[in-house]
């Protein structure tokens, strides 16, 4: 390892060759302000386009100032991080950025969480010396993400997530000069692009240029309408992260408090998406077992691997990029949609209410779920199975607005019947969880024996692409797992090229699975946050008496009373779906 | 087209092709070269100046004489056509009258190459054609 020695603010530091000035300064606890810079080190993403020029420093002997995030340390360098020249430049540059930014902070969705606002405070910007034309663009309202690009400061973080990490490639710089902005090609709407609504762009945007569609208002309206029965479902990953918004340590499970808060907010029934997750396993696990056994019995028509289909971002992704493989994902709907379909039929009938008088709200760690519930397949007579999906972040805001003291809430239990769940459902929230849950059930249904050990450690972990095999009574079942769409693409391309021979693959669009979803409290790429959330989820699983979906008594009852058996005609109608070639759809739209 | 296979091939090819633009290159640096102007007005052409010019261009090249042959309008010696003006570097221009191919041959061999004076020089007041132009 080659070392270089340099001086930063008259203090000597020795760093590995190739280290940037920014990192070297950090070693000395010298904080250089940054704006466009983003370091998601556990995802192997260091975004340093050197575009904002806030982090510039003075390097002795150099004609102009150097961006510390991108300039490598050299032997004998002398760096000044806060000289008058630097301070003047930094502030002037920030004033310039602000001069082309709307001044609607009072009503901005990001107010209080805005990196640009924070920087203005930090650098002491108190007036606006530059006033002139502002660049304006057409706002873009998609079902899940709002682009208010007047607020784009060209940090390009979203591009890195969309292109490098997710390989979706929707967002990139367009136009030039003062008009330059990040947008889909030809300045189309997201709705007319290949956007999967994974929301990773929203998660990293420093300003309110990219935000999730906020449905809180609609939820409040439904709650205030006495004619409506409002049912809420909460996804497994929400309970492992919601506490962070109230200052709790990452990994604090707040299931009971969350239920209690939702009741206080006025929801008529507080249910659990986990119930639907168990249902998903019944359907998907059965389908998986069926396809694998047919395959093992030599049926050439059956296609493998079977791919999980509970992640809406992932579904969008393969609908755009792998339209030739639409027959391999499981046809099972996602838990959110299974929940909606059962709530507005089985449960509505039980309650003797018309589905039109029922409003189903979901609390999701996700941005794509907002889009998923608007898909035409998931509605009956234009009445959607799930009416509104709000994110973990939105729920936290809602709770705060209602002045609920979250910390002191008592722990409460979900309502019956759709609040009952097993440990298998909880682990849906983390990468590898869905396939582990499916394996638990498939194993027992296939072998007729009880699992010797419920935990499949081989399926757990944080590697972007993982594989494991499970012994099904002498038959080896090969399982692949990917999280992050870039990793999914690699895995899928291998499958396509015949380089991978998995029987089943689980894919989640977001890093870490739903716990790192686009609607979760911001984790800033810190995988220790993600790992803590995953740990919490596995703990909840461990604490459950029932840990296999097929043991959920209310699921058993649902089949007995209503659906018949997994894969029945009724189950197919309510719980399964089909996929579209979205590239073809897009051509029609244009 | 066959490919050029070596530097030697390339050089040979160049020498074959050089004549294509030799005239342009020479005229770009007229200094140090013999300048011959052939009067090619109607009177000159009628008395055979075209043949003289062709002969000069052809022969000067063959005999490796570094000269530029240009045509010019009537020099005013219509009685003595064809006429040519020869400027050897460092000398005053000389006008020859009644030039036919034989005379042209003499001019090349004797006057241009060896500096011998020949018959048939038309005395002029050292007024070059350039000034007339």
């Amino acid at each position: 390892m080659e070392l270089v020695k340099l001086k930063i603010d008259n203090r000597t530091v020795e760093v590995e060759k190739g280290t940037t000035i920014y990192h070297a300064a950090q070693k000395l606890n010298i904080e250089i302000p940054t704006l466009c810079y983003m370091n998601l080190k556990d995802l192997n993403i260091e975004h340093k386009p050197g575009g904002c020029r806030i982090c510039v420093v003075e390097v002795e002997g150099r004609r102009n100032l150097a961006p510390s995030c991108a300039t490598e340390c050299m032997e004998g360098m002398e760096v000044k991080t806060h000289s008058l020249r630097v301070l003047n430049a930094r502030r002037t540059v920030l004033e310039l950025i602000i001069s082309d930014h709307p001044f609607d902070c009072l009503v901005c969705a990001k107010s209080g969480h805005c990196d640009l606002q924070d920087m203005a405070v930090k650098l002491g910007v108190r007036d606006l010396p530059f006033q002139g034309e502002k660049s304006t663009y057409k706002p873009d309202f998609s079902p899940a993400i709002i682009r208010d690009v007047d607020k784009c400061i060209m940090c390009r973080r979203c591009e890195t997530m969309c292109n490098d990490f997710q390989t979706v490639g929707v967002l990139s710089g367009i136009h030039r000069g003062f008009e330059a902005v990040v947008a889909p090609a030809f300045e189309r709407d997201l709705d007319h692009s290949e956007c999967t609504y994974c929301g990773q762009c929203v998660a990293v945007c420093p300003t309110a240029a990219l935000t999730e569609v906020d449905h809180t208002k609609n939820v409040i309206a439904a709650l205030s309408d006495p004619r409506k029965t409002v049912v809420v479902q909460t996804a497994p990953a929400v309970r492992a992260a919601l506490g962070e918004e109230f200052g709790m340590e990452p990994g604090t499970l707040v299931t009971g408090k969350m239920v209690s808060a939702l009741r206080q907010l006025g929801f008529d029934f507080v249910f659990d998406t986990d119930f639907a997750a168990d249902l998903t396993i019944m359907e998907e696990g059965t389908e998986m077992l069926d396809r694998i056994s047919r395959h093992l019995n030599g049926d050439k028509d059956v296609k493998l691997p079977i791919l999980t289909s509970c992640c809406p971002g992932w579904v969008n992704f393969f609908e755009y990029y792998y339209p030739d493989m639409l027959d391999i994902p499981s046809t099972a709907r996602s838990p959110q949609q299974m929940f909606g379909a059962i709530a507005k039929t089985y449960f509505a009938e039980k309650q003797k209410i018309d589905r039109k008088d029922m409003v189903v709200v979901s609390i999701m760690p996700c941005v794509a779920k907002k889009y998923e519930c608007t898909r035409e397949e998931f509605a009956e007579d234009n009445n959607p199975d799930v009416d509104f999906s709000i994110s973990t972040r939105e729920l936290a805001k809602f709770i705060k607005q209602a002045n609920i003291d979250f910390d002191s809430l008592p722990d409460e239990d979900f309502d019956k019947p759709m609040g009952e769940s097993t440990g298998a459902a909880v682990i849906f929230g983390t990468t590898g969880g869905v396939i582990e849950a499916a394996t638990r059930t498939a194993y027992e249904l296939h072998t007729g024996k009880a699992l010797p050990k419920v935990d499949f450690d081989a399926l757990r972990g944080f590697e972007g692409i993982r594989s494991a095999s499970v012994d099904f009574n002498g038959t080896e079942i090969k399982i692949g797992i990917a999280h992050g769409l870039g990793n999914a693409r690699k895995l899928l391309d291998d499958v396509k090229a015949g380089k991978a021979d998995f029987h089943a693959i689980e894919i989640m669009a977001c890093p870490g699975g739903c716990i790192g979803g686009g609607g979760q409290p911001l984790h800033h790429g810190d995988s220790s946050v993600l790992k803590a959330r995953a740990k919490a989820i596995y703990e909840e699983d461990k604490g459950k008496t029932l840990r296999k979906s097929h043991e959920n008594p209310d699921i058993i009852k649902l089949y007995e009373e209503y659906l018949g058996k997994p894969g029945s005609e009724k189950a197919h109608k309510l719980l399964h779906t089909h996929y579209f070639d979205k590239k073809a759809k897009q051509v029609l739209l244009d | 087209m066959t490919k050029i296979k070596s530097l030697a091939d390339l050089k040979k090819m160049k020498s074959d092709l050089q004549s294509k633009i030799a005239l342009r290159e020479k005229s770009d640096t007229p200094e140090g070269r013999t300048l011959i102007k052939v009067a090619m007005a109607t009177c000159g052409i009628a008395s055979g100046s075209k043949q003289v010019m062709d002969f000069l261009v052809e022969e000067l090249d063959k005999r490796n004489v570094d000269a530029i042959v240009t045509q010019t309008g009537c020099m005013g010696y219509c009685y003595a056509e064809p006429t040519i003006e020869v400027t050897v570097p460092g000398k005053d221009p000389v006008v020859f009258g009644y030039v036919d191919t034989k005379k042209a041959d003499d001019i090349i061999e004797k006057y241009i190459k060896n500096g011998e004076l020949l018959e048939g020089i038309i005395p002029v007041n050292y007024e070059t054609i350039e000034k007339n132009k």
């Binding site: 386009p49 050197g50 575009g51 904002c52 102009n64 100032l65 991108a70 300039t71 490598e72 020249r85 003047n88 430049a89 002037t92 540059v93 310039l96 950025i97 082309d100 530059f130 002139g132 034309e133 060209m154 990139s172 710089g173 136009h175 030039r176 000069g177 003062f178 330059a180 902005v181 | 087209m1 490919k3 050029i4 296979k5 070596s6 530097l7 091939d9 390339l10 090819m13 160049k14 092709l17 050089q18 294509k20 633009i21 005239l23 342009r24 290159e25 020479k26 770009d28 009067a39 090619m40 052409i45 010019m53 261009v57 052809e58 042959v69 240009t70 045509q71 309008g73 350039e130 132009k133």
Partner: protein
């Protein structure tokens, strides 16, 4: 083979073509044929002669007769008079603007007298679409010599010894650049010719590619041999269709002759060239942006290091040189580094091509030895200021450069002197301004260009230049205060100090150099609300000088907004509230009765 006694060289550059030089060529050919002169007279299309002010140009060889502003119909006269009767067509000869006399041939034209043509050596001499003419003009001999007789490091040393510096603007020593690239290992190295010429008014690269495309191909192959690259790419803007066409022909011919492709000249060295098209973004002249654009990405610069030599096209070691730099290379090998280094100044060797434009008599493309003075360029080659006006400034280096004034007229032009004088060489744009030009407006003009051409990646360039432009606009509108000049200067300095690439780092130069050299003029705008040159519309008004006005009504009849009133033979009056300051009245008045105040 016919031994032509006369060559008629017709300029086939883009400029002359725009004035129908291709038709002129056809007509000349036809006239030659009709007069049975095919064996005596050769009509050739060549590259640009540089004297674009008076195109289309026809040069007749061997007497160097130089015809200007030739129209297709003039072909008849040229053949009948010049080719048959040996008399030049007087009306087509160039008239010296100062002496008002006709110049018989190019050798007597001031425009050419001080020029030394190295990069442009074949422009206006050979037919660019005919490889045989290039071969006749020592073409590919340098490549042959390098491949057969020199090791790569020897060849690189020759380029280093020549002292050639990059002609694209940066002035980095070309040989050193090659040396660095030669020392980096890579599975596939690349040689890239930067033909993304974008300075306003500069067209030397286009002219070289149109007039002598083979010289660039030959140099790229030499470059490839020196650094160990087998692939060459030419990044050229799609707005240069003629250059592209001729490059394509040249590449095809060179392949046919075995001068590109496998085992060139039996040396075992493989090299081939492909063309990549740019969409005409100025910033793509910056080498990292150029490489991104070639890769199909957005044309944006990235931070250096890594330099292209370390990680360039497709992440491979890449050497990027500009067209004009390349055009010098064969001559360096043919005539020797020593010969090349004998031209120019101590630190700037050889020649530089400039595109002369603006208020100057001889607008065009010139190639002069480094060290020539601005005075020689403007007054001797350029023929002085148009209409006998007074010289005010010359802008060099394009939008990144600065303005030089009277006091710089005798400064020898080279890379370092220009920077010392507050400007730069750039790619060689030279725009001459006279007393009628307002320097604030000039700075605004260049800023307008940078605002358009900034890629928008870094904030100081994206937003800063826009604000700079807006500040200048306020000054020209008389809405700025004296304190705003300090703000303007600070903003300029910060943009220069913090921008990512050369574009932003130099974009404030026109502002800073005009502020330094014409401070009074800025002050007049902000304190007196006056534009001394009478350019800024918001600061001037047109008035009738009563004692001169004879009441002819010419002004009133020509005023597009009818704001001039007055009876015939009575003094007229301009309604300032309605006047749009178009200047029509001033132009039409024959009695000096309209004044700009």
């Amino acid at each position: 083979m016919a031994k032509y006694k006369m060559h008629m060289l017709v300029c086939g550059g883009t400029g002359c073509r725009a004035s129908a030089s291709d038709m002129l060529y056809e007509n000349l050919k036809k006239e030659v044929q009709d007069n049975n002169l095919e064996d005596d007279v050769q009509v050739v299309t060549t590259g640009c002669f540089g004297f674009c002010e008076k195109g289309p140009i026809v040069k007749v060889i061997p007497d160097n007769t130089f015809y200007v502003s030739v129209e297709p119909d003039d072909a008849k006269d040229i053949v009948a008079e010049h080719a048959i009767k040996g008399r030049s067509v007087k009306r087509l000869l160039y008239t010296d603007p100062a002496k008002k006399e006709q110049i018989p041939d190019s050798k007597h034209m001031g425009f050419y007298k001080k020029q030394i043509r190295i990069a442009l050596r074949n422009c206006g001499l050979i037919d660019p679409e005919n490889i045989e003419e290039y071969l006749a003009a020592d073409g590919y001999e340098a490549l042959g010599k390098v491949l057969a007789e020199m090791k790569p490091e020897e060849a690189i040393q020759e380029v280093i010894d020549s002292g050639l510096r990059g002609r694209g603007g940066g002035g980095f020593p070309t040989g050193i650049k090659w040396q660095i690239a030669s020392k980096v290992d890579g599975a596939q190295k690349y040689v890239v010719c930067n033909a993304d010429e974008g300075d306003p008014g500069a067209f030397m690269d286009r002219s070289i590619l149109e007039g002598d495309p083979h010289s660039v191909l030959e140099s790229m192959a030499i470059n490839g041999y020196c650094i160990g690259a087998t692939k060459g790419l030419i990044y050229i803007r799609a707005e240069y269709p003629l250059a592209i066409k001729r490059l394509k022909i040249a590449i095809k011919q060179a392949r046919e002759f075995g001068l590109l492709g496998k085992d060139i000249l039996g040396s075992g060295f493989d090299f081939d060239v492909e063309i990549r098209y740019g969409a005409g973004a100025f910033v793509c002249g910056e080498e990292t942006a150029l490489i991104h654009s070639m890769e199909g990405d957005r044309g944006e610069p990235t931070f250096k290091p890594p330099f292209p030599a370390q990680s360039g096209y497709l992440g491979m070691p890449t050497n990027v040189n500009n067209v004009e730099s390349y055009a010098n290379i064969p001559v360096i090998f043919n005539k020797g580094a020593k010969w090349f280094a004998s031209i120019g100044t101590e630190k700037s060797k050889g020649t530089k091509v400039f595109a002369l434009a603006g208020k100057i008599n001889n607008v065009g493309l010139i190639e002069v030895p480094m060290g020539i003075t601005l005075r020689e360029v403007i007054y001797e080659i350029g023929g002085g200021i148009k209409d006998g006006k007074k010289f005010k400034a010359v802008q060099t280096g394009g939008p990144s450069g600065g303005c030089l004034t009277e006091k710089h007229l005798d400064t020898p032009i080279d890379f370092d002197n220009l920077i010392a004088a507050g400007s730069m060489m750039g790619s060689g744009g030279m725009i001459v301004m006279d007393e009628d030009d307002c320097m604030v407006s000039v700075a605004k003009f260049y800023l307008d260009f940078t605002v358009e051409e900034s890629c928008g990646k870094c904030s100081p360039c994206r937003v800063g230049n826009k604000r700079l432009y807006e500040q200048l606009e306020l000054i020209t509108q008389g809405k700025a205060k004296k304190e705003d000049l300090d703000k303007l200067r600070n903003l300029s300095n910060v943009i220069r100090d913090t921008s990512l690439c050369g574009l932003g780092q130099t974009s404030p130069n026109p502002v800073l150099s005009t502020m330094d050299n014409f401070h009074e003029e800025y002050l007049a705008h902000v304190t007196d609300k006056q534009c001394p040159s009478g350019v800024c519309k918001d600061l001037i008004r047109y008035e009738v000088i009563a004692e001169n006005c004879v009441g002819c009504t010419a002004c009133a009849r020509n005023c597009p907004v009818n704001c001039i009133s007055g009876e015939r033979k009575q003094v007229h009056e301009i309604d300032q509230a309605l006047c749009i300051k178009c200047g029509a009245c001033l132009e039409k008045c024959k009695f000096n009765a309209i004044a700009v105040i």
